[in-house]
């Protein structure tokens, strides 16, 4: 394989492609992470100003975001507590009914996932609003409470997600295990608790995690159902709408860190399970040595990572960028001072020059053309024509296209001086040059 890809050059291409792909995937995250530590009040890398951890502080001091966060956590826990049992019940019901009924029921239960979140949000308000009216509740009642409505709205589709997780797990369940338990004397309840539930354990964990994430990051539905309140996501969205600052990057850093730590612990757990399951653990050097055994244990890794994170947070909170920023301000002030000084000098000089000949045209040094005076036709004119001074020509083409520069050609010029011809084509197209000399 490697030989063939070497000969075709595919290897190089594949590496290049992978690098590009990773850059595409992780570039934004990396850049965002860096901007969180730049003191510039707009999230950017260049110009780099000062390394700072102040944006984390700014994030935590943001009242709106923090109250949204606590609302989100509360709603998330509620959603998990309701949708996991609901999803489990749905999945169990589906596994029990006859195949034909199952297809129909499945389609019905899956609809909330297919319906756009916006529709769910609006219909949740409308539905619970009419329930509220039915019971004669006033507008301060629970059916007009943003948290309750958000909970209700999110559960409608997150319970369906949870159900999908459980269905996937149940499909791998061997129903003869339940029969075996019954046959061995277990009551149906015991068979459920001792056989099916332990099997579903991992699925309950992942369904709960997924429900929490789905609830936390939901915007489409929540933005309607939360009414005048705020969840973390809606607070964030309105913050972004008002203009962004690097405290959002700081938030991204926190989320990335939490995700990475979680992923590493999970990976350690999976590897350990794999080792134990295949029975290679006893032969692995990592496992026979008690120190490395502890270090590769998910709990060990978790403790190490959390320790590192805590140390970083502490170091960050101790970091003081005030000195650097004061320096920076000082520098800026110095630069401004210098510019001001120069400006003043220039004005002074001009004043001095203008006093002796007030009628002289502006200095060539004031020529705004980027080419200086090089293309200025006036610069080529041997005798300075009176006004208008060509040096004031603002065109970067130095008057080459200036119609007024061509005007003397069309009219019989009193003193046609070829060297003063402003055409970029020399005289080639000058009709005057073709005319027989009078």
């Amino acid at each position: 394989m490697s030989g063939s890809s070497k000969s075709t050059g595919g290897g190089l291409f594949a590496i290049g492609y992978s690098l590009l792909f990773f850059a595409f995937l992780f570039g934004p995250l990396i850049i965002m992470t860096i901007t969180a530590f730049n003191s510039s009040s707009f999230p950017r890398i260049t110009p780099w100003e000062c390394f700072t951890t102040d944006w984390f502080g700014a994030l935590i001091r943001d009242q709106r975001l923090m109250s949204g966060l606590s609302t989100s956590v509360g709603i998330g826990i509620g959603v998990v507590a309701i949708s996991v049992p609901l999803g489990l019940a749905g999945a169990l019901a589906l596994s029990e009914v006859s195949p034909r009924l199952r297809t129909a029921l499945y389609s019905v239960l899956i609809i909330p996932i297919l319906v756009p979140g916006v529709v769910l949000g609006i219909s949740t308000i409308v539905f619970w609003g009419s329930v509220g009216r039915l019971f004669g509740g006033d507008h301060g009642g629970i059916f007009y409470n943003g948290t309750f409505l958000t909970l209700a709205g999110q559960v409608t589709f997150i319970a369906a997600y949870a159900m999908l997780v459980f269905i996937a797990r149940l499909q791998r369940f061997d129903p003869t295990l339940t029969e075996a338990a019954l046959d061995l004397g277990a009551t149906p309840g015991q068979a459920f608790r001792k056989i099916l539930m332990p099997f579903l354990g991992p699925a309950i964990g992942s369904a709960a995690f997924m429900a929490l994430l789905a609830s936390f990051e939901n915007y489409n539905t929540t933005v309607f159902t939360i009414l005048s309140g705020n969840t973390f996501t809606t607070a964030l969205a309105s913050k972004v709408r008002l203009g962004t600052d690097p405290s959002l990057s700081a938030l991204a850093v926190i989320i990335i860190a939490v995700t990475l730590i979680g992923a590493m612990i999970n990976e350690a757990h999976n590897r350990r399970q794999e080792l134990l399951r295949t029975g290679r653990a006893s032969r692995s050097r990592l496992y026979t040595n008690p120190v490395t055994r502890w270090l590769t244990h998910p709990a060990g890794i978790g403790i190490i990572l959390l320790g590192c994170a805590a140390a970083l947070v502490y170091a960050g909170s101790e970091h003081d960028s005030r000195a650097c920023r004061a320096d920076l301000i000082e520098q800026k002030r110095a630069v401004q001072e210098r510019l001001l000084q120069e400006q003043r000098q220039r004005i002074e000089e001009q004043k001095r020059l203008q006093q002796p000949s007030a009628t002289t045209p502006p200095q060539p040094s004031n020529n705004p053309s980027p080419f200086g005076g090089a293309f200025s036709p006036g610069g080529l004119a041997p005798g300075a024509a009176p006004a208008p001074a060509p040096s004031t020509n603002p065109s970067p083409f130095g008057g080459a296209f200036n119609p007024s520069a061509l005007a003397p050609e069309a009219a019989p010029a009193p003193t046609p001086v070829p060297s003063a011809n402003p055409s970029p084509f020399g005289n080639a197209f000058n009709p005057g040059s073709l005319q027989p000399k009078p």
């Binding site: 295990l177 075996a180 046959d183 004397g185 277990a186 099997f199």
Partner: protein
């Protein structure tokens, strides 16, 4: 005299919609008996067993265990323990937890459970494996753990659904003797299901041969093999040569059949009375046929040898007679020489070694 280990199938029929999985099963399994149901796969054996253990209700008839009607008794209340075709050991539990599960659900304390599990592990000759996970055991060990778990229930009747089908040949043969030994030690009623006639014949006290939901014969293994009562049993149990024809004459328990291979005589099975002209089949086992040296046999068949297969202990010769092929097996006793293909051979057999059976249900043979 009924013991509480008796099982009676009282005209049991089980239907799934229009499909009849078990058709009017009527038999008594005596306490302490090793009883086998033998039949091709799909004939309704598992369904019948699940009916005894309570997972399927009979559409008609009753199941009696120890003289009690089991109609409204749920599976966990029946004195039966079922060993599933796939064993159904609990993968998340250790071996000891598996074996102690029946005690756990009956509220036996942890210490007592472990003690009993260790006793049962000793009994199945797997001491010290209690803390292993199920997947760490070999196929044969798992098999024995499943048996131990079922015995922990202290059932009156142990039901086994093709428990050896997943094992390799050597282990299967070893487990046959083992199962039989366990059954004799614990003295339970074993109801054993298999499509492997070797298993059924070696282990059982009695065998019921099933075909498409119908129990065709219930007998001791020798009787099933030597005196099949239907054409299906004759062709399903063991090797058999079938020659069909019409009855020429029938008298005093024997019948003469006009076949393409000539007029052949055999026992009229089960003392049946045939009339001349009845469509019948004469069955004669390969090991009951002999190469004829003299001419005084009643039954003689002349044919050409197609080929002879060497199987170590025996040689199987395939002889063509008209359109039919007849197999004859000969013990490799070191004296007989191999036959050459194309050779003309004469086969002979005693009428007592041939069975004449009516054609019915022949269609299902080899299904």
């Amino acid at each position: 005299m009924t013991s509480n280990k008796d099982v009676v199938l009282d005209h049991v029929s089980i239907r799934f919609g229009a499909y009849t999985a078990v058709d009017n099963a009527f038999l008594t399994i005596k306490g302490g008996e090793f009883f086998s149901f033998l039949g091709p796969s799909g004939c309704g054996k598992t369904t019948l067993l699940r009916c005894v253990s309570g997972f399927v209700d009979p559409t008609e008839g009753r199941v009696l265990i120890g003289g009690k009607d089991m109609r409204d008794v749920s599976p966990n209340k029946r004195p039966t323990a079922l060993i599933f075709q796939n064993l159904a050991l609990f993968p998340l539990m250790s071996v000891a937890e598996n074996i102690a599960f029946p005690l756990e659900v009956r509220g036996v304390g942890r210490k007592e459970r472990r003690k009993r599990a260790d006793e049962l592990l000793d009994m199945i000759a797997l001491p010290g494996t209690g803390d292993k996970k199920v997947h760490e055991l070999s196929g044969g060990q798992r098999q024995r753990v499943a048996i131990a778990r079922a015995l922990a229930v202290e059932p009156d009747i142990l039901l086994l659904d093709e428990p050896l089908s997943a094992l390799d040949l050597k282990l299967r043969q070893h487990m046959r003797t083992e199962l039989r030994a366990i059954q004799q030690r614990v003295g339970l009623t074993f109801i054993y299901i298999t499509h492997d006639q070797g298993e059924a014949l070696t282990m059982s006290d009695r065998v019921a041969v099933m075909n498409t939901g119908v129990i065709e014969q219930v007998d001791a293994p020798e009787a099933v093999y030597n005196r099949p009562k239907t054409a299906f049993v004759a062709s399903f149990v063991g090797e058999n040569n079938a020659l069909s024809g019409k009855i020429a004459s029938a008298e005093s328990g024997y019948a003469a059949l006009e076949t393409p291979a000539g007029l052949l005589h055999g026992v009229a099975a089960g003392g049946r009375h045939y009339k001349p002209g009845d469509a019948c089949i004469l069955f004669v086992r390969p090991e009951r046929l002999m190469l004829a040296r003299d001419n005084d046999s009643v039954n003689r068949i002349v044919g050409t040898l197609e080929k002879e297969e060497f199987e170590g202990n025996i040689r199987i010769a395939h002889v063509r007679i008209g359109n039919a092929m007849i197999r004859i097996s000969r013990v490799n006793d070191g004296l007989s020489a191999p036959l050459a293909p194309g050779e003309n051979v004469t086969l002979a057999f005693s009428p007592d070694n041939a069975t004449v059976l009516p054609v019915s249900s022949m269609a299902e043979v080899d299904a």
